[in-house]
Amino acid sequence: MPHNKTQDTLVGLFVAAGIASLFFLALQVSNLSSFTKGNTYEVVARFSNSGGLKAKAAVSAAGVKIGSVKSITFDPKTFESIVKMDIDAQYNTLPDDVTASVYTAGLLGEQYVSLDGGGSDDYLKNGSKIEITNSSLILEKAIGQFLFKSAEENKGSGDKKNNPKK
């Protein structure tokens, strides 16, 4: 069978296109490129409620992703959730009195940890603990509190209306 050079070229192009699209899927579509596990250090925060936060969720400061959540465990003694985070080693000058809060990206988006504020001269190190935390906003709780509050206000104003009659 004669060896056909064009055929070889076509097969080569085909394989190259296939491998290129695999690379495209790996780098452009998936989260492989967004956070390479290079040098990181671990910090711990305790939340009274970490809501829908999941492992691998983003840890961001001022909107920039600086790390990811490593694990979330429950402490049955204090009824708190212990969130361990890996922070990129290049951000090693975060003050140790930052506030960690669980926020939601958009109304229906993923939950993430945001680190804000802080002015201490000491920096977060491997194994440090973030003392000040804000729990995630639980929608049902917030709505429940709002309803309870407005019911209370209505009741109060209702009493006032009723009182003059008596």
Binding site: D8, V11, F14, A17, L22, L25, S30, N31, L32, S34
Partner: protein, 259 residues
Amino acid sequence: MEFFRYLGANTRESFTKLGRGSYFLIGMLAGISSVLVRPHLILKQMHSVGVLSFLIIFISGLFVGMVLGLQGFYILSRFGAEETLGVMVAASLVRELGPVVSALLFAGRAGSALTAEIGLMKATEQLSGMEMMAIDPIKRIISPRFLAGFLSMPLLAALFSAVGIMGGQIVGCGLLGVDDGAYWSQMNAAIDFQKDIINGVIKSLVFGFITTWIALFEGYDAVPTAEGVSRATTRTVVNSAFSILGLDFILTALMFGDN
């Protein structure tokens, strides 16, 4: 009574066929080592199996992605979540549609051609001729085609997914006004390399294996007449489609069932 006799004969025949198919598979896999010495055989088959399927995969992928973009936008905009269009398009393509639809197209485009080719070789006694010349047709004809199909399938599926995601982007961002940055960044955050992409590749490898095996075996096992070859070609497409969809359910349950 006639019915039961028919049922028994058919059942027995299908088990016999499964046995023959397994023998065939073992011979085919054993022949791979001797094919690796002659890579130009694989190259030639990759041309007819892979390169010639390129266009149908490319165009189908583009249109499937565009339809996903349209339909996804329609549904997601009811919840005000148009920004997650990229996630929807990419997840459905990478996890399901990419491997499954490209395998179905592959069975129709390449599998049927393989069956017809080998069936006709058998009908015109080319395979027996080879045996007379002391050339093992399994090693010379079957194994290179198997390797070519097995290797082409994941490439075609990846191509399908990649083109589909671009198609979804063209429709979603170009026509319907979804933000381009949100399309890619939400996708980036939601699609996991290990869980989604690698599992999709594993799926397409399994489908490539099963489809090529069925196509080659049906051709090799065909009744060597014009009618026999035509029936074998039909069986290839039908059986491949069944196995692809059935296996897809099992693989999906194994890969994504735990959450």
